[in-house]
């Protein structure tokens, strides 16, 4: 790829992306007009609750959703300036795994249970990079070692079931790293793991990212993880991005009421016991039948008439790097004041 710094396009640019599922009960608007860019070497957190479209978005980017006509797409996915959606499957296969790798939530189901760990890694190296078996074996041991698995050589001869969840996720990361991808998409990589192991895996991902100057999209439902491990964040709600900015900025000055509500609903370790939680009333909208106007309006404490009829676009106000989709955003800088009295 061109190393011409002056006119280099961003690593990933997603423009007005739609992914709809044609289901027997109607069209599910899983991703509904999403745009964002990701620069090289940055970590973007995509945060949202179940059904917000965050996983479908990532699967759309690497194009692993069903191709039987039940999935409808629209929009552009520019990876280093090339639109992935226009590439023939053969070229896309070259990019998937090699340029863009993915780590999934459940490491047991993403590894082949009847193949030895070593085989699963060397396969990538011989088939994708054309290494000889001998070289691949050495490289596999190096990779296993680099993700913090002890006794690398010996581990290569074991099956996934012999490893703990945390170790399996390390193997999945080693496989993802095998081709030195430019972009890693990690979809809830620690949700199935215990907290102490979660911290180890997140530290490992960060270490790998820094060493390789790789970009990462970290998909999670946990704002605490976003807070500690990402540079930028996009908050998704019902298939759309509700707010997008630098992570520190989001935590300090959320503008979209949903972001604020999400932050306030999680119990904090610093609160005394029996602190009443600020639950968000109601449920996320049904994606088969999305409401008109702002998708959060039915649960929003600040809702006004306009919110029920007109859909807000993702726009910036005074800070161009901070965009949000809201007609009545929280005042800049006084989020906490509003928060304490706002949501019941």
């Amino acid at each position: 790829m061109a190393d011409n710094q002056s006119i280099e396009p961003p690593l990933l640019e997603v423009n007005n992306l739609f992914t709809h599922f044609d289901t027997p009960r109607g069209i599910a608007h899983a991703v509904d007009g999403v745009s964002f860019t990701l620069e090289r070497g940055r970590t973007l957190g995509i945060v949202g609750e179940s059904g917000s479209g965050k996983s479908v978005l990532s699967r759309t980017i690497i194009d692993i959703l069903a191709k039987d006509g039940s999935v409808l797409h629209e929009g552009e996915i520019l990876f280093e300036g090339r639109d992935l959606r226009q590439l023939p499957e053969k070229e896309m296969r070259e990019i998937r795994g090699r340029e863009i790798a993915m780590v999934f939530q459940d490491p047991m189901s993403s590894l082949n249970p009847v193949k030895k760990i070593g085989k699963q890694i060397t396969e990538v190296l011989t088939k994708r990079l054309g290494m000889t078996k001998q070289a691949a074996k050495l490289r596999a041991a190096e990779l296993i070692d680099s993700v913090g698995i002890p006794d690398a050589e010996q581990q290569l001869t074991r099956f996934p079931m012999h490893l703990s969840g945390g170790m399996r996720q390390r193997v999945a990361i080693a496989i993802a790293m095998a081709c030195e991808p430019k972009l890693l998409i990690a979809d809830e990589p620690t949700t199935a793991l215990d907290v102490t192991i979660q911290a180890q895996i997140l530290d490992l991902l960060r270490e790998q990212q820094r060493e390789r100057d790789m970009s990462v999209i970290l998909i999670t439902h946990n704002l605490g993880i976003v807070s500690g491990y990402t540079d930028d964040v996009a908050v998704m709600y019902a298939g759309r991005i509700a707010e997008r900015c630098g992570t520190d900025e989001l935590i300090a000055h959320p503008r979209m009421p949903y972001t604020e509500a999400l932050m306030n609903s999680a119990p904090a370790l610093s609160d005394p016991p029996h602190t009443r939680l600020n639950a968000i009333p109601g449920l996320p909208p049904n994606l088969l039948n999305v409401p008109p106007g702002c998708r959060f309006h039915a649960r929003c404490p600040y809702v006004q008439d306009k919110c029920k009829s007109d859909m807000p676009e993702l726009l910036a106000e005074d800070n161009p790097a901070h965009t949000f989709a809201c007609w009545h955003p929280l005042a800049n800088g006084k989020a906490n004041e509003v928060a304490s009295g706002g949501i019941q």
């Binding site: 609750e49 215990d194 907290v195 102490t196 807070s227 609903s265 119990p267 370790l269």
Partner: protein, 320 residues
């Protein structure tokens, strides 16, 4: 919190046999819960927290030790006697969807405990079902004739809570009741549990792997590791001044909103050892940053370091 002890658990051990080998899922667990109290039980997968919760309601009866509920010993009871007691000793589970029978209507699901208990008065059953559904925030007129798949996870958990409440229990064992739920819904259910506790005078044993959730709901918190208690104290205290290195490590690894990318401390190294072959001495020593020779040789007793604060460590952390 007040008065009498509702539940007394003394030195319970639960053993299983796997691949011809006996191993203890929990050993020598001792705890008591006062009437009206919420005791939180926290730990990572495989630490024995669910086994402890289940052993209390005799599912299965512990291999050794005693469980006293309202002064009555439960371990020797027959199936029928236990069935009577269970009316006052309910449990709710992690996955609300799989703990509801998908083929039955909500009204039958919620009424079932009453019917098992021998209530034959249809009007009384209907009245009680409506009352508990109202209490958990579900409109009976809409919900009674529906089936579980027509509800979200959070709503199914409300139905599970209604089913547990209908017998007016004294104690509810809550086994990871909010782990399968999104944070916004999780907050709704935690608030609901607090409300129900007040309204029905409940005592809770709240099991979770999430320390922030446990702190929010509990009066006291017990931390388990590899089948044993390592620390027990008031929830405020255990979070402010954890004395066991494991508790401290666990707390340091929780990602919190507002954490800066740079300041996350070192994660606890290593993984939980196999319970089939626990380390000698202190079970946490293989991962403990403070481990010394004594920790390998000698198992630390679970002892008081302050009134109401117990810890199983030779070298407890004592303040800053």
């Amino acid at each position: 919190m007040n008065n009498g002890t509702l539940l007394e658990v003394n030195d319970i051990t639960v053993e299983y046999v796997t691949q011809g080998q006996r191993f203890a899922a929990i050993s020598d667990v001792t705890l008591d819960i006062a009437e009206g109290e919420t005791l939180g039980l926290v730990g990572e997968s495989g630490c024995g927290k669910s086994t402890t919760g289940r052993a209390i309601i005799q599912l299965p009866t512990p291999t050794a030790g005693h469980v006293k509920f309202e002064g009555q010993e439960l371990t020797g009871l027959t199936h029928n006697e236990m069935r009577q007691i269970r009316q006052r000793l309910q449990i709710i589970f992690q996955d609300p969807v799989s703990s509801l029978n998908p083929r039955r209507r909500v009204k039958d699901i919620v009424a079932e405990p009453l019917i098992i208990a021998g209530n034959k008065d249809a009007a009384d059953i209907d009245r009680k079902v409506r009352e508990v559904l109202n209490a958990v925030g579900m409109d009976p007129d809409i919900t009674l004739d529906r089936r579980p798949h027509q509800f979200s996870g959070g709503q199914c958990q409300r139905i599970c809570i209604a089913r547990a409440l209908i017998m007016e229990p004294k104690l509810i064992v809550c086994d990871e009741p909010v782990s399968a739920l999104d944070v916004s819904v999780q907050a709704q259910i935690l608030n609901l549990l607090e409300d129900m506790k007040e309204r029905y005078g409940l005592t809770l044993l709240f099991i979770s792997h999430d320390l922030a959730v446990v702190k929010n709901i509990s009066d006291r918190v017990a931390v388990m590791y590899l089948g044993k208690f390592c620390e027990l104290a008031d929830s405020e205290r255990i979070y402010e001044a954890p004395a066991h290195p494991y508790t401290a490590g666990l707390m340091a690894t929780i990602p919190e909103i507002g954490d800066k990318a740079i300041d996350s401390g070192p994660a606890l190294a290593g993984e939980i050892p196999s319970p089939l072959n626990p380390p000698s001495g202190c079970r946490f020593r293989t991962r403990c940053p403070q481990a010394q020779e004594k920790c390998t040789a000698e198992e630390p007793a679970f002892r008081d370091i302050d009134p109401g604060h117990q810890v199983a460590c030779h070298f407890p952390l004592l303040g800053e």
